[in-house]
């Protein structure tokens, strides 16, 4: 009597499965086209990153760290990157970064307009809020299933799953940033006869930029953490190394790959954070 009746079963999972299958059956060519274009873009990015000389990358990171924060930060970042090279993981790192970079760019292209739309419409905000909560709390592995069903195995479903996971903060923070622009400032812009587009571009977005940059930072960090999980469906790179070492109980390899991920995460975080600070507007 105390257990939930078996007959009351709503098979929501089944519906989702059917929906995904329906998509594949009827819109297969559409998803192929998406896959091709993501792959093309990803390859360009990866080719470029692999082409960059290692010392050049370290030098650039050093200079950015020095200019944006202080000399010691620049040195620390440079040395940490150098260490990754000594682990023999340079190529892997670039491959991971390519997936992260691609995902972040796609996230921004989707997320910023979405966030603006959400800020402008109470209805859209009401609908989007629970969806965003869901996207962020859903166990990350779950994304891998539809991603691999729609796009097969490899890097593209990795990018897809990473994007879904990482797009939430940029949407959220863009929404928040636009809504927080001083009401009087927006009124002032309207009172001079600005068009809605002029209000957005000349006033709201510049005012929102610091918060949006924080969103970029968070999105990048989320992408970084997801890219490891995405290696389970064949995204190459550092995540793959971690996965391999789990399978083989290879402590040495696991430690090195894990450390490399931590290092990249820290460097990206600090750099995007100080970039966000640079955009702060003094009131």
């Amino acid at each position: 009597m105390n257990s939930f009746p078996n007959t009351l079963r709503i098979e929501i999972g089944k519906y989702v499965e059917n929906f995904v299958k329906y998509l594949i059956r009827n819109y297969g060519s559409f998803f192929d086209a998406i896959k091709e274009s993501i792959l093309w873009f990803l390859m360009k990015v990866e080719f470029f990153l692999q082409w960059l000389p290692w010392w050049f990358v370290i030098a650039v990171v050093f200079i950015i760290g020095w200019r944006m924060k202080k000399l010691s930060s620049g040195i620390v970042y440079g040395v940490m990157l150098f260490l990754i090279g000594t682990f023999g993981l340079w190529q892997m790192m670039m491959s991971t970064l390519a997936v992260v970079l691609t995902s972040v760019i796609i996230s921004l292209i989707i997320g910023i307009p979405m966030g603006i739309w959400m800020a402008y419409s109470e209805k859209i905000e009401m609908i989007m809020r629970p969806i965003l909560d869901g996207m962020q709390t859903m166990p990350t592995f779950v994304y891998l299933i539809p991603a691999s069903m729609l796009f097969g195995l490899g890097k593209v479903p990795g990018v897809f799953a990473t994007t879904i996971y990482a797009v939430a903060p940029i949407i959220r923070l863009t929404n928040l940033a636009i809504r927080n622009v001083s009401k009087e400032m927006v009124e002032a812009a309207h009172s001079f006869g600005s068009s809605p587009m002029q209000v957005l571009i000349k006033v709201e977005l510049p005012q929102a930029l610091p918060t949006i940059m924080t969103g970029v930072n968070q999105t990048t960090m989320m992408a970084m953490s997801m890219v490891v999980v995405a290696s389970m469906i064949g995204a190459r790179g550092l995540g793959e190394q971690v996965l391999l070492s789990i399978n083989r109980l290879d402590i040495a390899k696991g430690t090195e790959a894990g450390l490399a991920i931590v290092v990249i995460a820290i460097i990206i975080d600090r750099m995007t954070q100080s970039l966000a600070d640079k955009f702060k507007i003094l009131e």
Binding site: E184, M185, A188, H190, F192, S195, P206, L209, I281, E283
Partner: protein
């Protein structure tokens, strides 16, 4: 003076179904009843007034009286629920989007309480904003912006960021931004409330100066009765979304229509509102320079005064002579020119009585009220300055 803007039966109701509340108000429900029964807020209730070209029209009221709602209706930042707003005969409430944008770009500009400046832009970029929106070429708009900065006394501050300026200077930027567009009507929503009292006073005087130069039509919101009476050509007093009285400061001071307004004007310092022209006398005994000393003697005797102002035939002030000097001069056969004295005070008719008090205390002679051409308009005796305080 022609009417620049005419507001007819304007009503604004905030809430989900504003139109449905209109009938209830017409049936005589009060603001509180509407709020309690329907959850709608009555912002404005059947407001009508007209603003004449070139005047400063002040709307005064306590917070919650609907004055900010009203001024926001005038450029449609708030959409009125009912009523008309006629600008040069056209009802702006009926404007479509393009017409409204054109109207805002060319005819009306607003200055905000907390300035509403764009903190990501420099001072000059702020001032040029309205012109930028109108697609005026960069070089031209920067030139106009620079000229406007000069008008408000901020020449040379153009490249600064907003946060580098003090509050008073920030509001000057706000004013310049509105003026740069060369609007017909300037809306000012409690522009000086956020400023220190000292700076507020300076800004009020400066606004009057700028107004004298540019002759804009200004609609000015304030909760400060002293400010309202000081700068307003006409004042409308609002309460609960309605206008209780409209009139010149003197009219309201002399005939407050009800107790509410009486209470309102009680703490007014009259010396800050009354001007020299309000308390001066027409100078009846006057000596024209062609007249001789004997005429002067006779005039002073018959009016029982000890000094008399001397003017030329255009009534321009030449000086003053005293009775003692006149007696002496007649004996010594001197002329009027020989005994003219210049150690009296002069004032223009716009001067506030408050500022005349120290002069009145010091002077031996009446104060002469003159215009720009030194034409004598009237005289003020000590007693009337002090009487102005009561």
């Amino acid at each position: 003076m022609s009417e620049k803007m005419e507001v007819k039966n304007l009503t604004k109701i905030f809430g989900r179904h504003p139109k449905s509340i209109l009938k209830k108000i017409n049936e005589g429900m009060t603001k509180d009843q509407v709020l309690n029964k329907t959850g709608h807020t009555v912002g404005l209730n059947n407001v009508s007034f007209e603003v004449k070209e070139g005047e400063i029209f002040v709307i005064m009221g306590l917070s919650g009286s609907g004055k900010s709602t009203l001024i926001r209706c005038l450029n449609l930042l708030n959409k009125p629920t009912a009523g008309q707003i006629l600008f040069e005969g056209k009802d702006i409430v009926k404007f479509n989007k393009t017409e409204l944008r054109k109207f805002r770009q060319n005819n009306i500009a607003m200055v905000f309480q907390h300035f509403g400046l764009f903190s990501h832009r420099t001072v000059i970029e702020n001032v040029a904003y309205g012109l930028e929106v109108k697609d005026i070429p960069k070089e031209k708009r920067l030139k106009i912006a620079n000229d406007t900065l000069e008008t408000v006394g901020l020449l040379g501050w153009g490249e600064k960021m907003i946060h580098e300026l003090s509050g008073g200077m920030q509001q000057r930027v706000g004013l310049a931004r509105a003026l740069a567009n060369n609007p017909d009507i300037l809306l000012m929503d409690e522009p000086f409330s956020a400023l220190d009292p000292m700076i507020r006073r300076d800004m009020q005087l400066e606004l009057l100066d700028i107004q004298a130069k540019l002759q804009k039509t200004i609609i000015f919101i304030t909760h400060d009765v002293n400010e309202a009476f000081k700068i307003g050509d006409r004042v409308a007093v609002m309460k609960d979304g309605q206008i209780k009285q409209i009139g010149t400061p003197e009219e309201i001071l002399e005939n407050p229509v009800d107790e509410y307004i009486e209470n309102f004007i009680q703490d007014i310092d009259r010396s800050k509102i009354l001007q020299a022209k309000n308390i001066m006398f027409t100078p009846s005994p006057l000596l024209f320079s062609k007249d001789g000393l004997n005429v002067a003697m006779k005039e002073m005797k018959s009016h029982g005064i000890s000094s008399i102002f001397v003017v030329d035939k255009e009534r321009r002030l030449k000086g003053i002579i005293t009775i003692d000097d006149t007696i002496k001069a007649i004996k010594e056969k001197k002329s009027v020119e020989d005994i003219l004295k210049q150690d009296y005070f002069m004032t223009d008719p716009e001067m506030y009585v408050q500022e005349l008090i120290p002069k009145a205390v010091e002077t031996k002679y009446p104060i002469a009220v003159v215009d720009d051409t030194k034409k004598l308009l009237g005289i003020i005796v000590r007693a009337s300055v002090l009487a102005g305080l009561v």
